[in-house]
């Protein structure tokens, strides 16, 4: 009888883990248990389908359950695992026991729910399951007003999407500036302006007090700025690791509340791996564990965990977290830390800022690209960045995260090679400009410490 691997969870991590495991070891019996009916769709695309930038929700489905069955996976859809017995090596689902030799937990996250009165009313929407999103999408045309709650990037994306659909949107957050947990005020400002340009009423420094309803359905959101009428309240607070199964079997949980794994994605129990939003991994700069990263991180972790569960030997590196998203028609992004987080952690840094253009300045469509680099004093090693502008932000953030991981300095970036081709790149690369400015400033401030 072949070895049996059970993967719990059919999101990005679970899908990647199960397919990788099967490809790495075709003799392995791989069963995937998911509480949802669908697999291999893009939840990150949901706001853009609501905003009609993606014409059809069906476009978000990248594959079918049947295709995974044809690849040799044992797909158990709409099947919730209610119990795991590590001693007997069984899981329980639909009151039946299923044996395993190896287990891979990809149970994802749950949305933080606001601890205020009325949080159980109908009409409070959380963005996660695509079927629920498709139902919600049908209701949007009959709605007039929405309140989006929470300062994480999904809230920004959902605000823009609902405004594009013609709803009056109030975006509320307690923080002093947009996305204050993630970005610095100078980067938040143009993002907020872009949302306002779409008609979103951005109300920063506004506290959620409760939800008011009639006939069991939300009709207004009570805030420190007064009552905001709405047909729906979209809640985009923090992602919390869904560790109920992990806790029940005594897996070690870390300081973020997520499952502790090592660099092979092994948990504290032999023969049990974890991947995705339910685990914590170290930040490359501080080695402090963090959790609730992006879909690409979940997918990459799933591939490593799946390969190792199938008998391979793959290592997952500490993360430098390149990130980016759209605020209305504007792009913001970065990697690692910005000024606010560096201040919070007490990490010493110097700032290098510059503004360039995304194409030759005479070429139609050229957009200003703002770059802020954070570097370690003395060595001037890159430790973080935040960017905003038009095209090319994503690629620059990916690049910066990669070179930071390999130890690049402002000196390296100031003299980097770059593509000059009028439709796609200017003579002076914006990253290069920021690094040059940073070196010049350091030369004025501390001439003896700048590399020759």
């Amino acid at each position: 009888m072949s070895e049996r691997l059970i993967v719990i969870g059919g999101g990005g991590a679970g899908t990647a883990a199960s397919t990788t495991a099967k490809r790495a070891n075709p003799d392995l019996h791989v069963a995937v248990f998911s509480e949802f009916p669908d697999i291999a769709y893009s939840p990150c695309g949901i706001p853009y389908a609501h905003g009609r930038e993606i014409p059809e929700f069906e476009n978000l489905f990248l594959s079918t359950v049947q295709r995974y069955v044809e690849e040799g996976l044992d797909m158990r859809m709409e099947t919730t695992v209610t119990d795991v017995d590590l001693a007997r090596r069984t899981v329980t689902a639909r009151n039946k026991h299923e044996g395993f030799d190896k287990l891979l937990l990809c149970t994802g996250f749950l949305w933080e729910q606001p601890p205020v009165p009325g949080a159980n009313l109908e009409g409070l929407h959380y963005v996660k399951d695509i079927r629920r999103a498709m139902e919600f999408d049908k209701e949007i045309d009959s709605m007039k007003r929405a309140v989006v709650i929470g300062g994480m990037w999904l809230g920004v994306e959902m605000s823009g999407a609902l405004a594009r659909r013609g709803l009056g949107v109030d975006f509320i957050d307690e923080g002093p500036w947009l996305l204050s947990e993630l970005v610095d005020p100078d980067v938040a400002e143009p993002a907020q302006e872009a949302l306002e340009k779409l008609g979103v009423n951005v109300r920063m420094g506004t506290k959620l007090l409760g939800f008011e309803g009639s006939d069991g359905r939300v009709r207004a959101v009570s805030t420190s700025a007064g009552e905001l009428e709405c047909d729906v309240a979209v809640i985009c607070l923090h992602k919390l690791p869904n560790t109920s199964l992990a806790s029940s079997i005594g897996l070690e949980l870390g300081t973020t509340g997520a499952i502790v794994v090592d660099d092979h994605m092994r948990t504290s129990a032999p023969g049990v791996w974890g991947a995705g939003d339910v685990v914590e991994v170290p930040h490359g700069l501080s080695m402090l564990p963090i959790s609730g990263l992006t879909g690409s991180h979940a997918y990459a972790q799933g591939r490593v965990a799946g390969a190792n569960a199938a008998g391979e030997d793959r290592v997952y590196d500490p993360v430098w977290i390149p990130w980016g998203f759209m605020a209305g028609d504007y792009t913001i992004g970065g990697f690692s830390i910005g000024e606010t987080l560096a201040e919070a952690m007490g990490i010493p840094y110097v700032v290098a800022k510059g503004v360039g253009v995304s194409r030759a300045r005479y070429f139609p469509g050229a957009a200003r690209t703002h770059v802020k680099l954070l570097a370690e004093p003395g060595s001037l090693r890159l430790i973080g960045a935040q960017l905003h502008g038009g095209e090319g932000i994503k690629e620059r953030c990916d690049f910066l995260a990669f070179v930071a991981k390999r130890g690049a300095t402002l000196e390296d970036l100031a003299w980097m090679e770059n593509i000059y081709s009028p439709p796609i790149g200017a003579l002076y690369e914006p990253i290069q400009i920021a690094a040059q400015n940073g070196l010049a400033e350091q030369a004025v401030r501390r001439p003896e410490q700048v590399p020759a």
């Binding site: 307690e174 005020p185 300081t255 090592d262 660099d263 501080s286 060595s379 130890g407």
Partner: protein, 113 residues
């Protein structure tokens, strides 16, 4: 309360206090680009004792202390170069440590280390 849960709560509270203090500092640096925060207030101990003490300790020492207290990730290979070291060329990604140098099978749990 279990030790793990206590660590989780301590981290959440300390991070919150540090972030709130940093937001005030950074807001002063960018005048006119922020509004009055309505985030829950930080407790007296965290605001007036913990945050100032935390910032008095140099980062290099704090980093060592965090490692000693096992607050940083265990059983992970660090990147090519540690914070504070002079620049040197990157090393090959997986050449630093063989994860199987101890002869354990790949499916062994990390608690076995």
């Amino acid at each position: 309360m279990r030790a793990g849960e206590l660590k989780h709560r301590l981290r959440a509270r300390s991070e919150y206090a540090l972030r709130a203090s940093a937001m005030e500092e950074v807001a002063r640096r960018y005048p006119g680009r922020s509004t009055k925060s309505e985030l829950p207030r930080v407790g007296v101990f965290w605001r007036y004792v913990f945050v100032p003490l935390f910032h008095r300790v140099p980062w290099s020492f704090r980093r060592k202390a965090m490692r000693a207290l096992k607050m940083t990730a265990q059983n992970w290979r660090e990147d090519a170069r540690r914070f504070g070291e002079p620049w040197r060329p990157p090393v090959q990604a997986h050449a630093i440590r063989s994860p199987h140098g101890d002869g354990r099978p790949p499916e062994a749990g990390n608690a076995a280390r």
